[in-house]
């Protein structure tokens, strides 16, 4: 059973039980305390007998049940109006010194809530937080004394065991009912927020998984200048002193091309991401190092597919002349050299199949 239905059922049962309250009066009742009258989790445990018939209409679950049909029809102003009317009724029983302040709070809430529901949806959240201040209606418990605080700011109302039970209820029950309604009204905003944050977290996953790897100094560099309040992962990336592996295809003529495995150091470069980090394009300056040749200098182009790098480097030979080489990343080299092998294997397999059929 959904919790909200459970609460409504509980309220209806309490209402029914209240009519036979005198019969049940013999049942043990707890001594009312500030917590039992004011702490929402304790208020909810009150039995019909403990609530009492005269209080039943003001019991927070009863108020919530009363406005259910209005909420079903989307009549939020009327629903809140009903809760406020009940609150005004009840507040008359509050301590005399608090009545005027409480009435002012209710008047302000009624005015602000009307304004809130008239606002376009994209302005409602800020208004609810900055003007209406929904959290203002949430009760808190003093950690040192157990007293309940109402309107817990600098001018809070403290509800203690010394305050008569009827006055405690008059102060707390309206606040509990109103806080619940305000919470429910903001439910779509919370759903939207969770959706946005989930989507944002996925983009960060993609960024880490798909983007070109960053070593610590690059990670520091790429974080520079970002506002601490920027939530999105970056759409570009600087490359700085980034080591990797590569293959140079070197030689003077087509017939004497040789493969040279090299360590590559990308000195400085810039990449731009597209399509959620699955595509990128960029340019970096590189130096390559091998065990038996001098250092070569050149550049890399970062390709969006298949996320590989291809470039050109140049180094002096023993005669002082400069010789160029094609430079590719290991993954691209494996892909390119793997194609003929794959084709040959496919051809061999096909021939073998043909022979078998013969």
């Amino acid at each position: 059973m959904p919790p909200i239905v459970r609460h409504l059922t509980r309220a209806l049962l309490a209402l029914a039980a209240a009519s036979i309250a005198p019969l049940a009066a013999a049942r043990a009742q707890r001594t009312p305390t500030a917590a039992l009258d004011c702490r929402p989790q304790d208020v909810r445990t009150l039995t019909a007998v403990e609530i009492g018939a005269e209080w039943q209409a003001y019991y927070p679950d009863t108020v919530r049940a009363r406005v259910q049909s209005l909420l079903d029809a989307g009549e939020w102003t009327a629903a809140m109006g009903t809760a406020i009317d009940r609150a005004r009724d009840l507040v008359r029983k509050a301590p005399a010194a608090q009545i005027d302040r409480y009435r002012d709070e209710l008047a302000g809430l009624e005015r602000d809530f009307r304004t809130l529901v008239a606002l376009p949806p994209d302005r409602q959240d800020r208004f609810r937080a900055d003007v209406l201040r929904a959290a203002h209606w949430t009760l808190t418990q003093n950690p040192a004394t157990g007293a309940i605080s109402l309107f817990p700011d600098a001018n809070r109302i403290a509800v203690t065991d010394e305050v008569p039970s009827s006055e405690r209820r008059a102060l707390c029950w309206p606040a509990i009912a109103i806080a619940g309604l305000l919470t429910e009204h903001a439910a779509p905003a919370r759903d939207r927020t969770v959706e946005i944050l989930t989507s944002l977290a996925h983009r960060w996953d993609s960024y880490i998984d798909e983007s070109y790897s960053q070593l610590p100094w690059e990670l520091a560099l790429n974080g520079l200048g970002r506002s601490r309040r920027t939530w999105e992962p970056p759409g570009h990336q600087w490359v700085l002193l980034h080591p990797s592996l590569g293959v140079e295809v070197a030689g003077l003529h087509r017939d004497d091309l040789v493969r040279v495995d090299v360590a590559v150091l990308e000195g400085l470069g810039f990449l731009k991401y597209y399509k959620g980090y699955s595509r990128r394009l960029g340019l970096t300056g590189v130096a390559t190092f091998s065990s038996d040749r001098p250092m070569a200098l050149g550049g890399y182009v970062h390709l969006w597919f298949p996320q590989a790098k291809v470039g050109y480097v140049d180094r002096p030979d023993t005669t002082g002349k400069h010789r160029g080489s094609i430079l590719v990343s290991i993954d691209l080299y494996d892909l390119l050299t793997g194609v003929p092998t794959s084709l040959k294997e496919a051809k061999d397999a096909a021939l073998a199949l043909r022979k078998t059929r013969k």
């Binding site: 609810r128 004394t145 960060w204 495995d261 190092f289």
Partner: protein, 355 residues
């Protein structure tokens, strides 16, 4: 009524089941006062649910990526005796070596969170998503649900920063948990390093405070918990001049384990778990007499099986805390913390081998 306590871990490696022991300690503490029946594994409108919030996987993700990319390169460079221009081989080799490196695993988390803005934001997004989801779900189960947070060590800084942004400067249109509209019931900051690691917003100026400090304070009550011998919360300690009774400073001093920074060591102390349980089950759930009895029993209980070493260790810790108290340098935190953890490991090993 539904009550949810989100548990946020501190620095170091935290696997998927990191919260199992923490939860067990909280339930065991509740058992002392007959409250252990009030917990539920799933969100329930009439029980307390303990929900772990983890961010360590984000650090590991970044480190793993460094490691995977680096290992192949290092192997190649060594195999071919290639002279690279800088001695980066050692760096690359050990960059993700956290599993077997206790100190590095703690230190690297602090460094990554504080100094690498991309990692900082990634961690905050992940934690914001988990907190918002838990909070939203709790309010779906029960609109009156009380949602609280218990954070430890680095988790205090992560929690502060994330909540402050969620409350005042969330991503566009993600405005479902703004300060003024929503408020957590309680925030417990244990071994708080929020101030030494603070960036923007700063911890004394943000909305992560109780309503007596700022009307739009993001928690009904705030508890700041610190052990006298714990070096981590010592530099730039969290000592605001807040006077309201909805802000509670808890100082503990009992030593039952050498690692007084440990989350569970804190939670086992009644000076910590009594206010925690009262915040979940109500102030009257634990009588003042029962609370005092638990505290007295804990103070009187025997601690380490290695009393002589413990006495010397306590003396060392006291001196260390005095030295770094009020330092404002993050390096002090990292250095003192690393030395402390190294000492704990060393003394534990020595004790295991006999006094």
């Amino acid at each position: 009524m539904a009550r949810v306590l989100m548990l946020v871990h501190g620095m170091g490696v935290h696997g998927a089941d990191w919260a199992t022991d923490v939860k067990a300690d909280i339930v065991a503490a509740a058992q002392t006062f007959g409250l252990d029946g009030g917990f539920s594994e799933t969100l329930d409108d009439d029980a307390v649910t303990l929900v772990p919030i983890s961010y360590d996987a984000r650090f590991r993700k970044w480190l793993d990526k460094w490691g995977n990319d680096s290992r192949e390169l290092v192997s190649f460079i060594k195999k071919n005796s290639i002279k690279v221009p800088a001695n980066i081989v050692g760096w690359l080799e050990n960059v993700d070596a956290t599993e077997n490196n206790f100190l590095w695993s703690h230190v690297v988390d602090v460094i990554l969170y504080r100094f690498f803005d991309l990692v900082t934001t990634d961690v905050r997004v992940s934690v914001a998503k988990d907190i918002a989801q838990t909070w939203r779900d709790a309010l779906k189960v029960d609109p009156q649900a009380e949602v609280s947070v218990l954070a430890h060590s680095l988790g205090t800084s992560v929690t502060h920063d994330t909540l402050a942004l969620l409350a005042t400067a969330p991503p566009p249109k993600a405005t479902g948990f703004l300060a003024g509209d929503r408020r957590l019931a309680n925030v417990f900051m244990v071994a708080n390093v929020g101030r030494i690691l603070e960036t923007s917003p700063q911890v004394f100026d943000s909305v992560i405070c109780p309503p007596s400090v700022r009307a739009n304070g993001y928690c009904g009550t705030m508890f700041n918990v610190r052990h006298d011998l714990d070096p981590f919360p010592a530099p730039r300690p969290f000592k605001p001049g807040w006077g309201g009774d909805d802000f509670v400073q808890i100082r503990t001093k009992a030593v039952r384990e050498f690692n007084v920074h440990d989350f569970q060591h804190y939670l086992r102390d009644p000076r910590v778990h009594v206010p925690l349980l009262r915040s979940l089950f109500g102030f009257d759930a634990i009588s003042p007499a029962s609370a005092q009895e638990a505290m007295d029993a804990y103070e009187a209980a025997r601690g380490s099986t290695c009393p002589e070493r413990l006495a010397a260790f306590v003396q060392d810790c006291r001196q260390r805390v005095q030295l770094i108290e009020d330092s404002s340098d993050v390096k002090t935190l990292i250095s003192a913390g690393a030395h402390f953890l190294a000492d704990v490991q060393e003394i534990k090993a020595a004790c295991a081998g006999g006094p």
